[in-house]
Symmetry: C2
Subunit: 190 residues, 2 copies
């Protein structure tokens, strides 16, 4: 498969800067080491709030974000919560759709494809017998996730499908969600 490398801004992507960034990282691979962070504070019951702001990357602490992003999570009433936010598992679906879509726009720009619209729906099936401790045969998390894309752009069907396939191949969240990541938990009591 051959792809055409375009250097024009497209789809709201600053394609020249995208390629310049790739060249910079090729020359200094340590620029690619990032650390992302979130802090969370319990409010009441299943309601809690995360703050996202600082991260390290490209050799330094970020200073571009001038305000916190804050997100509430909660359980709905049917799960004995107060519904002050989506459930944590729903944020995973958002993260997956967002990552695939962000990558797609970059890849389309790099391949010279103008996108008209991209929409996706993500569904995750979960059997709460696991987290409720009512069955050892049922996992805690989603049993399966389906992502359905609708994409429109100035390229043939196979090229548009190829954009999504390449985005899947290079998606950080898709990798995390399909392959898993080691998680270490430490506790300080006081």
């Amino acid at each position: 498969m051959t792809t055409t490398v375009e250097r024009q801004p497209r789809n709201g992507v600053d394609t020249p800067t995208l390629f310049a960034t790739l060249d910079a990282v090729k020359g200094s691979p340590d620029l690619a080491k990032f650390q992302f962070r979130a802090t969370n504070r319990w409010i009441s019951g299943t309601h809690n709030r995360s703050t996202i702001r600082g991260f390290f990357g490209a050799g330094q602490e970020d200073t571009s974000r001038t305000a916190d992003f804050t997100y509430d999570a909660d359980h709905p009433a049917v799960l004995v919560g107060t519904g002050n936010g989506p459930t944590p598992v729903e944020f995973v679906l958002h993260a997956l759709a967002a990552c695939l879509t962000s990558g797609l726009a970059n890849i389309a720009a790099a391949r010279g494809v103008t996108l008209h619209s991209v929409e996706s729906t993500v569904e995750g099936d979960i059997d709460l017998l696991g987290i409720l401790g009512l069955s050892d045969q049922v996992r805690n998390g989603y049993q399966g996730i389906r992502v359905s894309f609708k994409i429109s752009g100035d390229a043939p069907d196979d090229v548009l499908r190829g954009l999504i396939e390449q985005s899947r191949r290079r998606s950080a969240v898709y990798d995390v969600v399909t392959n898993g990541v080691p998680v270490e938990i430490t506790v300080d009591t006081h």
Copy 2:
């Protein structure tokens, strides 16, 4: 290890309803089958927006949510985005902290522990040589995630630590993030 089962509301958790829900699901296990959803729409470049509202569970479509939850995601300028939201991978950290904390409050209530405060910080290390396609030796997603809890409550150190350990054992997002989930992607072009 023995735990005391309390039936008093505590920590903002309606403990009697929590146990009644467990009993109801024991009697009708199909009530535990849930489907969560998110829809996402591309805006421009790496900026896109998810909407979270409907879900199926406890045998029916939810009607308790009277408005959409909407969340923007984007890449920061250093990653050639416009910074209109956190990156998708940061939402994964939020989801993980939120899930562990929601479960913790329920477990504390069930064990008769009054919580004073719960805070957590989540850090994820990622080497973008993977998603940038600059190394086949580097994965796309996080290489590791660390969660640091600070917890205060009216119980001894080992009991407080036990709450977090039990929350980890029963966390949907922890399971997804550590063990992975099959993801199916379908595409409709037009």
